[in-house]
Subunit: 761 residues, 2 copies
């Protein structure tokens, strides 16, 4: 197992010593957010060691001019970057003339804690000043308010342990920030204004090009030993920042606590002209309510989140911590209240990749939100894509498609494609299939068939039209073929007839045809009007689709009894992942791209992604043969890889394999498997971890529109408990080695199946 | 046909009116060079309109930090740029307070001429100053001295036609230049020093990183009406430049002529410490010799070049001009005197692409130099690659190859790979085959078998070792296969079993084995010592090679009687280039990359490149079937495409097709077919034009080590004359519609074959 420096505990993450080597990792892991804003666990006071400073506001992005080696026709000109926004936590603390900076002082004791139950980031430390004598205790706590998501608050307490002296402390807002991944070293904000009061300040800036406005206001209140403490401040101001500078004497043994309240408002939700004023009003209200009261509301909101989404694992403390960490980060990233937002691959924990939306959302994240949140949350994720349909059509047109064919982007913020590697941008088109599949998944889970007439059908038809144009008739094969694609396994590029892509394309065509029929059954007039609007030529288009479905080419290896990842796969030198020397793994860090491409090694589920999505279409034997062939050739170098394999392995009764893979997904970031957690967390794969537990070990399946549980616990676990929303009911599933209990927490009677036997609860 | 603005004439290129729209094109087309330095046809005086200023010094490059979208393991960090160097032609001409600038004045008459016979760039114009009255005549001539290639000279004459007045003229050197294609907008030169005398100046600078030093010195002499003219100069100097500023009265009707001599010396050829002094010495000597004398030597050197390389075409003035333009530019780019130099794709006519060496050299240029120059010229081109062998081995090691396997770079200056598109850099490996083929071609043309022991065998073994590792055994096919390659047709990427690549790989293995035997025959001891040095395991390696040769997979379409460009080619939607609407061509400007990749369309000869190289291995029937299949699917969007097709078409008696394609290659730049001549000329494809004439219409072939001519003239040509060096002889071949004459210009008796019949001359 990988070693790490973090305490194993059911409800928190904690580091107990300060090691600058770990600081950037901890900044990611201890990140906090509330779906509307979030930030890395940077220290409040100055820190001169390596640090990636990051505060982010949901939906606020910048289209940074793309950087490519060689331009290809069809590339997007811009890459939407998740923007580092105003640093609102900043404090500059100077004690007896010496600036507090953990990179420079002797740190006598230290702990940093992420309280996942209550959504709090806490820190306690004692540092020795450079005279080798004076000791100062810091106790800090902060949160991004889940109850009122435009608010953040910090409690920052300073105690001179063994001396009296003087302090100068500046509480500031700073918009003069950069993105480390800026393509041309540019800054992305232009100042709009800053003001400062005695205990308050406000600063606003606008993004270049996109003209998002963000205003951040602060209020600073002081306590001494828990009582109000009167002190005066000087104001400092420049065009990108504002600060309140306090200077007062420190008495030995007394605790001086700053409550810094901040309001972060963006033009996503408020009129631009009023933004600075509104931010000041909000923060004034927050300060009036007070830190303790806001904290209580925030903690209560977290309790509500946990109420239905918690998973309890007994007997395996690391697994328990891992799954809670994943669920916690998912909630911090996306709350489902705003259909313009999505689940960024790094959430609010880093800036890498850019864009907020990948196919991860539909393929990996949707099931979590379907099972743990009200249906509107999942529906908002679908609406997000519906709103982007015109851009998806434009995107397809740029590539030469027509007639309303839609190609959803690989990476996007506003619907426009951001990615610029031809083998991905133009070829990793299976993403379109996952978006269709999400509609299917949503409807079968919620029974909300009416959604088809509220966006679903538009999207399905757009995607189906794309598939219908993307295949071509092969005279040689007398089959429909799909040339030049990249499957989910990105260690193959530009292959012909990727089985998964062909399969999901044909499936989409079938499902769209069925969905048109469903819509007609629900509301024939509305459906007919919609089809007219879409200029849908039913006779011609449906016939063409049917012809493709009937006669699309699937590569198979008859003698092996498996489908082939793509044509020609068996020409590769045959090796297993277990043949790879440890010092060459991960291969993406040790091998040339050329060598990776030509090898048999698979980055993440490709064929098996299809067997995962469409399990019911295959016999257990078929699934097993394909699993046994492909999994040993898979290096799981995508964070999205293990979960799909866990679910299939559990299904096949390979419980040890499932558990081995589960460990890789559930503690991927906590244990920093890929040596890159410093750049941010792998948010979307966290939903995969949830799937591993609930669909893998919990064995949850929807078969013929019925809910099934075929659970199988790893021997390391004595019990597992999770909840699932199903239609109008809410079920509590409790598993132990030899018992399964399903409790219905609602009055809505339902029947589900446990190990194949009906159970009405 | 394409219209252009240039006069058709046998020995010169001329434009007769000044149109700023054409200026950047003309700057490319009228470029001059002497193999050691060269420059675009920028005006001497200031020009404020669009212009790409460029002066280049052979072999002086800068490794600009690469720009990529997404880094792939194995990419080179640097891209060697052809460097824009000191502007030595500069004059600032101010007449009666008004600066001469053709972008601003009324141009009453204008002609710019490239005298190809004598290697002179000439310009005559009359401009009207802004008062609407004063008229000034300019007559300028300049050359890069072919006889003394570190010298350049300008004669610049000014005549006030209808007024007397005053002139201030600054003759300057300027190192403060940029590359337009700099990846990060950086400049690449650091100043070393500048000095100025009354009629002289010198400036030196060094390239960043590579530390090449270049010093340029000038001497300025004045004449009035052809007689020495005494005038004084002020000096101007800054860290990157030096100038002599003259001011004197102008008398109406008198001609004031400046002779500006320049010496351009680089640390490629001279010690750094002495460079500035040596440049001053050289230019002093030049000035002493005088413009006329230098010009005479230069013109004589050109006469010598033309003596054996000229091609005469009767009856088709455009073709005559085209072929001479091509030959002229080839001579300007590469004279073969320095084995460290090569034939840059843009020569000294632009900065695009960077790197000096592509597989173009071996595949397209070598035959020209073999036939028109002494063998040492072609040999120097081979030695260039031999010297780069260690880098080619390193390059292969970066990709995971071992045991001395060599992969020559796609683009290079010093042997290191510069390119960074994985599908090219890592996959377009057929380039290695062309380098082996060039050795074969050189030896059969010159009979210099001894070359095998002077570098040839080292290179062949390195390349063969690469092929032997690059193929893999396919259990499925029970054949050796080559996966993941890009053939010469770059409109396909990452294909399996590209026929051409497989064929040339197997050919290399055979030829290397034969070459080892040849070397052993010549000098068994030396050969054995060499093989020991190379740790060549003859038994094992030769066996492995033989196994591959015997059992490598070639994709074919039996029913069509053709080989397949790659596996799966027949799955593509079948279309012909003639089906493409004109407004979608060239497809690389109108289609997305995705669409191009999936289409059947071929950029340049791929299968047919193999039939061109290895014509003797196939029956005429086989060649014809493949030509008839592939040529109609070829869009010829590479400048290297038409020539190969011309040669094959002529061979097949398709003389009209050959002529149609010939027109595309011979006047590609003169007629600006691809609308990009402003960026520079397509130097390497010019050698392809030569091949089209000599190997196409002249029907020159080497069959079984014998020289053959099977000529066939297009009906537009009444006669064709060219010379060919063959072993120790020099042949003059004269063709007309019904006669073929071969004259031997040496006393060395040889036998060649005309239309299959032996002819001893």
């Amino acid at each position: 197992m990988f070693q790490n420096y973090l305490e194993v505990a059911p409800w928190h993450i904690r580091e107990n010593t300060f090691d600058p080597e770990n600081h950037e990792k901890s900044e990611s892991i201890f990140s906090i957010g509330n779906g509307q804003m979030g930030q890395r666990a940077n220290f409040e006071e100055s820190y001169s060691g390596p640090s990636l400073q990051g505060s982010y506001v949901a939906g606020v992005y910048y289209p940074d001019k793309t950087r490519v080696g060689w331009w290809k026709n069809g590339y997007p000109e811009y890459f939407a970057k998740v923007l580092n926004s105003c640093n609102w936590i900043g404090l500059r603390v100077v004690i007896d003339g010496e600036e507090l900076d953990l990179a420079k002082h002797k740190v006598l004791s230290f702990s940093r804690t992420l309280d996942m139950k209550r959504g709090l980031l806490q820190r306690q430390c004692i540092v020795q000043l450079s005279d080798g004598k004076k000791e100062v205790e810091l106790v800090a706590e902060r949160f991004c308010n889940l109850a009122e998501p435009d608010l953040g608050a910090i409690s920052y307490a300073i105690k001179p342990i063994n001396f009296s002296g003087g302090i100068k402390i500046t509480s500031y807002l700073d918009f003069d920030v950069q993105n480390r991944d800026s393509n041309y070293g540019e800054t992305f904000w232009v100042p709009l204004g800053a003001m400062v009061g005695e205990h308050s300040g406000v600063v606003a800036a606008a993004t270049k090009k996109t003209d998002f406005h963000v205003a951040v206001a602060m209020r600073n209140l002081w306590l001494c030993n828990g009582f109000d403490f009167e002190t005066h401040a000087e104001g400092t101001i420049d065009k990108m920042g504002a600060g309140n500078v306090y200077a007062f004497p420190l008495e030995q043994g007394k605790t001086y606590t700053l409550h810094k309240h901040c309001a972060v408002l963006s033009s996503m939700n408020h009129p631009k002209a009023a933004l600075m004023q509104l931010a000041q009003d909000r923060v004034a209200m927050a300060a009036d309510a007070g830190f303790e009261s806001l904290r209580a509301a925030h903690v209560a909101a977290w309790a509500e989140k946990w109420k239905h989404s918690d998973i309890e694992i007994e007997g395996d403390a690391a697994a328990q911590q891992g799954i809670r960490f994943n669920i916690f980060q998912l909630h911090q990233t996306y709350t489902g209240e705003d259909e313009r937002l999505n689940i960024g691959p790094k959430g609010f924990t880093g800036e890498k990749y850019g864009g907020s939306t990948y196919w991860d959302t539909e393929a990996y994240c949707l099931p979590f939100y379907l099972a743990t949140e009200a249906p509107r949350v999942a529906r908002n994720l679908l609406q997000y894509r519906y709103k982007h349909l015109p851009k998806a059509i434009e995107n397809a047109e740029k590539l030469g498609f027509s007639n309303g064919a839609a190609l959803y982007p690989m990476v996007t913020m506003n619907g426009e494609e951001c990615h610029n590697e031809w083998e991905i941008t133009f070829e990793e088109i299976h993403r379109n299939g996952a978006i269709a599949y999400a509609i299917y998944n949503y409807i079968r889970h919620t029974e909300d068939e009416a959604y088809l007439l509220e966006g679903g059908l538009d999207v399905l038809i757009g995607i189906s039209r794309f598939w219908a144009q993307r295949v071509n008739w092969s005279e040689a094969k007398q089959k429909w073929v799909m040339l030049g694609v990249t499957g989910p396994n990105e260690y193959e590029n530009n292959v012909n007839n990727n089985w998964y892509t062909n399969y999901i394309a044909a499936w989409t065509l079938r499902f769209t045809r069925e969905s048109i029929a469903t819509a007609q059954r629900i509301d024939a007039n509305k459906t007919s009007a919609l089809l007219t609007t879409l200029q849908f030529d039913a006779a011609k288009e449906l016939d063409h689709w049917a012809a493709i479905v009937e006669n699309i080419y699937y590569p198979i290896a008859e003698d092996l009894g498996i489908v082939l990842q793509q044509e020609g796969f068996l020409d590769k030198p045959q090796q297993l992942a277990s043949d790879l020397p440890l010092n060459e793994r991960p291969i993406n860090q040790h091998w040339s791209w050329d060598r990776i491409l030509r090898s048999v090694f698979i980055k993440q589920a490709d064929v098996l992604q299809g067997f995962f999505f469409f399990e019911d279409d295959f016999t257990l034997d078929e699934i097993e043969r394909n699993f046994n062939y492909y999994e040993p050739r898979t290096v799981h170098e995508s964070s999205l890889s293990p979960c799909v394999h866990v679910v299939l392995a559990a299904r096949l009764g390979k419980i040890e394999k499932a558990y081995e893979l589960y460990l890789r997904t559930s503690r991927l970031d906590l244990d920093d498997y890929n040596k890159e957690v410093a750049e941010g967390l792998h948010i979307t794969s966290m939903a995969g971890t949830w799937m591993s537990v609930v669909q893998g070990f919990g064995g949850m399946r929807i078969i013929n529109n019925q809910l099934h549980f075929n659970p199988m616990l790893p021997k390391q676990w004595s019990a597992l408990k999770f909840q699932v929303r199903w239609r109008k009911a809410l079920l509590l599933v409790s598993l132990s080695a030899d018992a399964v209990a399903v409790e219905n927490l609602t009055s809505e009677k339902i029947t589900c199946f446990v190990n194949g036997k009906p159970l009405t609860v």
